[in-house]
Symmetry: C2
Subunit: 470 residues, 2 copies
């Protein structure tokens, strides 16, 4: 008798697992908000006996240490991970009892990191689940370039070998339960389906169907941008993260919000891009609370800068605070909720800007307007096609490159509208006239705009305009 | 619809509460091991919306701050409590929503501390439960002498007034749900029964049936010793306690145990007093893991001294570690479990001493032996009667007063055997010949020993022998 419960952290595209038997369980790669994990164990009626890390994470702050401290679980961390806190060092082949008849076995699977370790749950000696962390994912593997450029090629080869080791040592029926690959930038590609097994991966995973040289070449060629905040996660996890702090922040009035903005702090409006465009505090930025708030805010903000949150409700704030805590952004210094009109002093007005779509952009051009068209997607997305004449600055580069945006009215677009809203708010805060294109990129061509695809393998210049022809 | 769940912390004689409705709940005076609280909320399927403290606790380290940090609950602390962390300050009459139709109302009830606050749970405006912390207890009240001697008389009078305020403002049917009084030294007497109501207390609680002068005089006359470790709890709670650390300690071998003992550290054997007397590491002390381990170890140990635990099983260690964490004794520096023979170097022997009972003591005297009879009970217990000729040193004073124990063989007794076992281990570690009287004190008279009751109100001299006659 064993169970495996999946705990989703959708905002980061990661999964954690609670797995065990009648009395006790292990937790794999817990998120920083450990109350969810303790609650999951309580619902199962089990004690958390073991907390295991597959690797030193680069995309989020682990809750492993705090979970172990709070519950008394043994904290198993790959022995070679350079951490500065007490833990049970784990080496290849080590086993630990989970519950009656249930054992977990460590299997060294380097690739995502040099020390990466998978954990195989065994029932009466028979493997019943493989927690593969950032090694073998659903139709993909964990990216090998997050540790150190010098090691990337070596780790890519190791990733191929680790996938083969898992496939060689485990039966086709064994479920593969990875941590990354559900939107996480730690994955080299996103999950193809929701569940998988060793057998399913054996049939279609590049690491298992392609020879090592082809696999490595394609893996390295396909790597996307890495969120800048990743640089802070490894050190935080190695030092032993501070305990999470989800205590509701202090309330700010309009005067305080104005003072914080004047001091250069970030005031982040969590409302929908529709509501933000209609009326917002001058100088505030729009990172919608739903979706990838944590990834994008952590990516763009100067690290350590105090954050004030604006939102409809206290629940929206609590949700965002939890998302941000997971990536190491501490308790907001202040919050305001309710009517946006109360966020500005009576002498101030709410600002607004226009929202439109690609058809609107095409119509403006028809009328003879020559606005700046700003594409804030990533290089990898732009390679597949861009509006002719558009300027390209990925949204994560925009805060430091506002001066690279040509003068005049700016129409800003991304692939779906969320990042365009972020970018529009950044430009609006810099007093630029902006129109946010709230539209899917597929609509650009349908609207009659000319799309140019840069030659394969040659990314468009980051500041240049798209070539006139592919 | 509301519920109240009681969370017992038996080792400290305290209760915490989880109370709420369908979706969310408040927690009153949470223990430091917050995983129990999160699990209780998960079993109820509710979110913890509020964590409230009735007062700055003097008998344990609160889990309130960490529980709020981990769950995102608002942390309500009486406004006048001098804390150095962010919290929601609570004043008399303040209310906070708990769930639909459920509100909690703060009621200033000074006495146990100057800022002590009770919390009344109201359903649709009607009081349905009173969380009285250390004010009105079951048949008793919280003691007023834990804050500052200068304030004790004033607080005793305030306690009387607070009890009356609760009785005046609440209906007879309202359940009274105190934090203290279940063995806690914070109570001026121990609970008479397991549950109570305003009506039941109105009929029998001294604070409600006696005039203030009589009540105060009797309260102050009846106060028992205060565990020394209490001095460290207030400051820890005011500063904001460190997060709990229940991570399993490192294992010590015989060599390390010997080294730690030689360095003056405390090595504490958690096994039963029977097992300890039969064979133990020379120099180790016996604090049984079951019962009031935390109170007595925290009371006796020089504060901050590293602790090594010896026990039958890792579970025994985990249980003890949790108990000790609640009173601010951090993770043990080392542990050893299993066969005691493995706790000593092969060149060393386990030590042992004799256990007996009052009949054995009487028989020894019959044979003409003149052993030292050491009574390690508290003053308050000794006042009710003592073996004639016995020496009195309360167990909590013994570590610093070993030189006050007269020479020769020592028979040590308490009221039931547990404290005698502690004392015997202290004496044995100091190389004294000792017999532990593992017996209830009532058996002393039955065994033919002469019992003398000191005159009422005149405590026996702490070092003197019991008077020959009352």
């Amino acid at each position: 008798m064993f169970f495996v419960d999946t705990m989703e952290t959708a905002g980061l595209g990661n999964r954690s697992y609670l797995a065990g038997g009648r009395h006790s369980a292990l937790v794999v790669d817990p998120p920083r908000d450990i109350d969810r994990v303790i609650a999951a164990a309580a619902r199962r009626g089990v004690r958390i006996a073991l907390v295991v890390e597959t690797h030193l994470h680069n995309d989020y702050v682990t809750g492993g240490l705090e979970l172990a401290r709070v519950t008394g679980a043994a904290y198993l961390v790959p022995a070679a991970a350079p951490v500065s806190f007490d833990r049970v060092p784990v080496a290849d082949g080590d086993t630990a009892p989970v519950d009656e008849g249930l054992t977990v076995r460590a299997m060294a699977t380097p690739g995502h990191t040099p020390h990466h370790t998978s954990y195989v749950l065994e029932e009466d000696g028979r493997p019943v689940a493989a927690f593969t962390g950032g090694s073998l994912l659903i139709g993909s593997v964990g990216r090998p370039d997050l540790v150190e450029p010098r090691l990337t090629a070596v780790l890519a080869r190791a990733q191929h070998a680790s996938a083969h080791r898992l496939a060689d040592e485990l039966d086709d029926a064994v479920p593969v339960l990875p941590t990354h690959g559900f939107g996480s930038f730690c994955s080299s590609a996103q999950a193809d389906g929701d569940t998988t097994t060793i057998g399913a991966e054996r049939a279609r995973n590049d690491a298992l169907v392609k020879d090592v040289d082809t696999f490595v070449a394609e893996l390295l060629a396909g790597l996307d941008d890495v969120p800048a905040y990743y640089a802070h996660m490894g050190p935080a996890n190695a030092a032993g993260p501070d305990p999470i702090d989800l205590i509701p922040p202090a309330r700010a009035d309009a005067e305080q919000i104005a003072r914080r903005l004047a001091a250069g702090e970030w005031v982040v409006d969590l409302r929908s891009r529709v509501a933000f465009a209609e009326g917002h505090v001058a100088g505030s930025f729009n990172f919608e609370g739903e979706g990838q708030l944590a990834t994008y805010l952590a990516w763009l903000i100067p690290w350590g800068r105090p954050v004030t949150l604006l939102a409809h409700t206290a629940d929206d704030v609590a949700h965002a605070q939890r998302e941000l805590a997971r990536v190491g952004i501490g308790r907001p210094v202040a919050v305001a909720t309710g009517d946006p009109q109360t966020w500005v002093r009576t002498t101030d007005e709410l600002r607004s800007f226009r929202r439109s779509d690609f058809a609107g952009l095409a119509a403006a051009r028809e009328r003879g307007e020559q606005p700046v068209i700003l594409d804030v997607r990533r290089d990898s997305e732009r390679r597949a096609g861009a509006v002719v004449g558009s300027v390209h600055i990925p949204v994560h580069e925009l805060p430091k490159r506002l001066h690279d945006v040509p003068g005049g009215k700016v129409w800003v677009h991304c692939a779906g509208g969320m990042r365009a809203a972020i970018a529009a708010s950044l430009l609006d805060a810099a007093d630029r006239e902006v129109v946010a294109v709230d539209d899917g990129f597929a609509a650009a061509e349908a609207a009659g705009l000319t799309i140019a695809a840069p030659a394969s393998g040659a990314p468009a210049s980051k500041t240049g305009t798209a070539p006139a022809a592919a």
